[in-house]
Symmetry: C2
Subunit: 456 residues, 2 copies
């Protein structure tokens, strides 16, 4: 029941745009939600999208601009001057979206717009400039100025008048925030309660004092965790003095959560920029190169580690056969344990317990997995008549490597987190590369010891 831009639809639209068939273009765009029009614009590419944009009325244009992907928006806004952007877009959209869009603009245009807004006499315009000061990933960066607030000394009917006055500006109303004369946040009234109360009821007799709120500097992660935990659709934002300065709605938090999840996913897959399959070849290459270079460095270092044992390999070439097994298992075990820790750190669910107890637990898990894998490998080696020395070397190395790699996967993210570095950096290629090296060193050391023992 969602609009789907089928290939047929896009082809008809392209044809209509090419021949300037206004009737067909308007017919094809009729009744589409701004989010869907934005989706179509993103798909069409810059050649058609500017032309299509000219078919939209003023209000729809502004709504569509908000919903576009960053690169499409940048392309379209490039052609408009600062004055046009302010009048036709910034003034028509929510303050949080306005701030996001201004932040994305090239520096020069950004400054021009800030100047225009600063010069403006309208309070709303100046408030957008204030929003620009907050870090994108904080409550301040997520909040909008639009909300319904009511003085504690008002009545329900005055409150409804306020909603009526703001009806145009504040599209989504779920609750009303109660403030004193100095704008301090005192409490909250859900819209449902307001509907059910006689018009003469005093706000002070109606509002609830228990209200979930966040400080303007609270991190985006914490905001989304609070809203998720307490099932909130909106949360008020206050400053250090508990003055009400904004409101965050769940739709923005949902987008934030999605971006965060994608970021973690890209880190673990070794992609260093926020890219998607539709990005340009060069952008995709640049996003993938850094971790490949890390892998290259790791591989060259590994070649040196093995090179030290050249003599062993010439005598026992079987040692070389199992290099991929050792590195693969080190990599897998390390990624498994690091990803669990990173997820626990992100979700703030790293339960009580000391470092020692965590290491002890990880040791148990990796020992169990290691002993099972080593036993299978030992049986395989004995069954296929490989030399006892080789079979023992590989099995013991495998057990050791699984345990060491798992412990490193646990410790490195915790260590990074302690130093306020994103622990997600320690997942993916980073952990596999370092575990490759450590695994190989352990493997050849054990081989060296076992082969030099005369009794096998």
């Amino acid at each position: 029941m969602q609009f789907e831009a089928s290939r047929e639809y896009l082809d008809s639209l392209k044809t209509a745009l090419e021949v300037n068939d206004d009737l067909s273009v308007n017919e094809l765009l009729k009744d589409l939600h701004p989010a869907d029009i934005a989706g179509v614009l993103d798909l069409l590419g810059i050649k058609y999208s500017k032309n299509l944009f000219s078919y939209l009325d003023e209000e729809t244009s502004a709504d569509v601009i908000v919903e576009l992907e960053d690169d499409t928006r940048a392309e379209i806004l490039k052609d408009f001057d600062a004055d046009y952007i302010v009048t036709k877009f910034i003034k028509l959209i929510d303050s949080d979206d306005a701030a996001d869009i201004i932040n994305e603009l090239p520096e020069e245009k950004n400054e021009e717009i800030v100047n225009l807004l600063n010069k403006s006499k309208e309070k709303d315009d100046q408030e957008i400039v204030k929003l620009l000061e907050y870090d994108e990933d904080t409550a301040g960066g997520l909040m909008a100025q639009e909300m319904i607030k009511v003085n504690i000394n008002d009545t329900v009917s005055e409150c409804i008048d306020e909603i009526r006055n703001q009806a145009e500006d504040v599209e989504k109303v779920y609750s009303v925030y109660v403030v004193d004369n100095d704008e301090h946040l005192l409490g909250i009234i859900p819209l449902k309660k307001l509907v059910l109360s006689p018009p003469g009821t005093m706000i002070k007799n109606l509002y609830g004092e228990e209200v979930h709120k966040v400080n303007v500097n609270t991190s985006g992660e914490e905001v989304s965790e609070i809203m998720r935990k307490y099932d909130l659709v909106a949360i008020p934002v206050v400053d250090e003095n508990n003055k009400l300065i904004g409101r965050i709605t769940i739709d923005d938090v949902v987008d934030f959560m999605k971006e965060e999840a994608e970021e973690d996913y890209q880190l673990i897959s070794g992609i260093s920029e926020d890219v998607k399959t539709s990005d340009k070849v060069w952008v995709l290459t640049r996003a993938r190169l850094p971790w490949l270079l890390l892998g290259l460095l790791g591989g060259v270092t590994a070649s040196m580690v093995i090179g030290v044992h050249e003599a062993s390999i010439q005598i026992y070439p079987e040692m070389a056969f199992f290099i991929p097994l050792i590195t693969a298992m080190a990599g897998n075990a390390g990624v498994q344990s690091s990803s669990l820790v990173v997820q626990a750190l992100a979700g703030n669910t790293l339960k009580e317990g000391t470092m020692v107890s965590r290491i002890a637990k990880e040791f148990s898990v990796s020992f169990l997995n290691g002993i099972i894998c080593a036993a299978i490998l030992l049986s395989y080696g004995l069954f296929f008549n490989d030399s006892l020395a080789t079979t023992l070397t590989i099995s013991i190395s495998l057990l050791s490597v699984i345990i060491i790699a798992s412990l490193l996967g646990l410790i490195i993210p915790l260590f990074l987190d302690k130093f306020k570095i994103d622990p997600a950096l320690a997942t993916g290629p980073f952990i596999t590369t370092s575990n490759d090296l450590i695994g190989l060193a352990v493997y050849f050391y054990i081989g060296h010891v076992l082969y030099s023992v005369n009794w096998i």
Copy 2:
């Protein structure tokens, strides 16, 4: 501003519980949100949590049960019989939560409860049984029966009476759904609009006909994508005949999104069950063993691939030095391209374009990355006076392996998706293991060819 269960807090609570210091326990639990009490229960472990649970009043108990983690809830519910669970929990919570909890129970207790609910004369109880029939990951599995609906022939004041009547049952009201006499969904009225309309207004003159809705069989992914795209806090659910049968609220979708993101993250890290660091050692071991065994199988197969080239290694032991480089790069390149495709498939953002154009693009990206890495490796080899044959073998292999691994990372998920298998399975250990093998085969084949050419 969120409650944090500090170690001090937990210690005081434990002590108070051990000596049955009711006063202190009640003081420590005072004013806590059910979600926070649930968090504390999850942390305390079963020994204390049952005791603590007995301090909660009936309504709080029911709310806390909903918020608990699955395993804590299972432990606590184990001690209650079916009748108690129905009267004290199921009847007091939202229908969607009730259905989720019943679904989690062991089969026997599940059946007992379904029997009790079937025998009940209350319509609500029977509707919970209906909810049990829907797949967890569909709109039917996410929806609750609780919502406000109003007949098209009613007035605003009748509608407000309906909200008043349902005020207890329907905690969150964002909008009212308009239906005809046969319960067909006709439209929607946002609560804001209701607040601003005179009581005598006819619903038919007030409602909007454009309403986002989903079918009961729509997948959870699609529901969350629709709600995210159109910024909805609730969406009505209809059956095949457009009859209104339920409502999905954004809080449940937020939880669903979080679980989905965690699942994808665990798949790419090679973890096959939904586990967390606090799970038991055996559960963690079981979740990690399958992909380790896959790695083991891959490693043993790799040893056979290399074994075929034993003679080459004895003559050119340098070939062995670069085995980890080849497998690591194959793994990294494959994970990078597969994860981008999997994300695009999940977000439904795989833009228009044919299979050929996708392969051509992936080829360009991997060729660029490959040629940069190969050039670096070539310079390194020449500079450090490695033999020309070795240096050429490794560099050419590296380029080939990066391209092949990247293309496989693109094609395998698309292939799985075509056959309705979760493409996320092709990320992580699966793609690294298969790329290890293919990478090695390519490497030794190129080595074989180049070393046998006399001119180098």
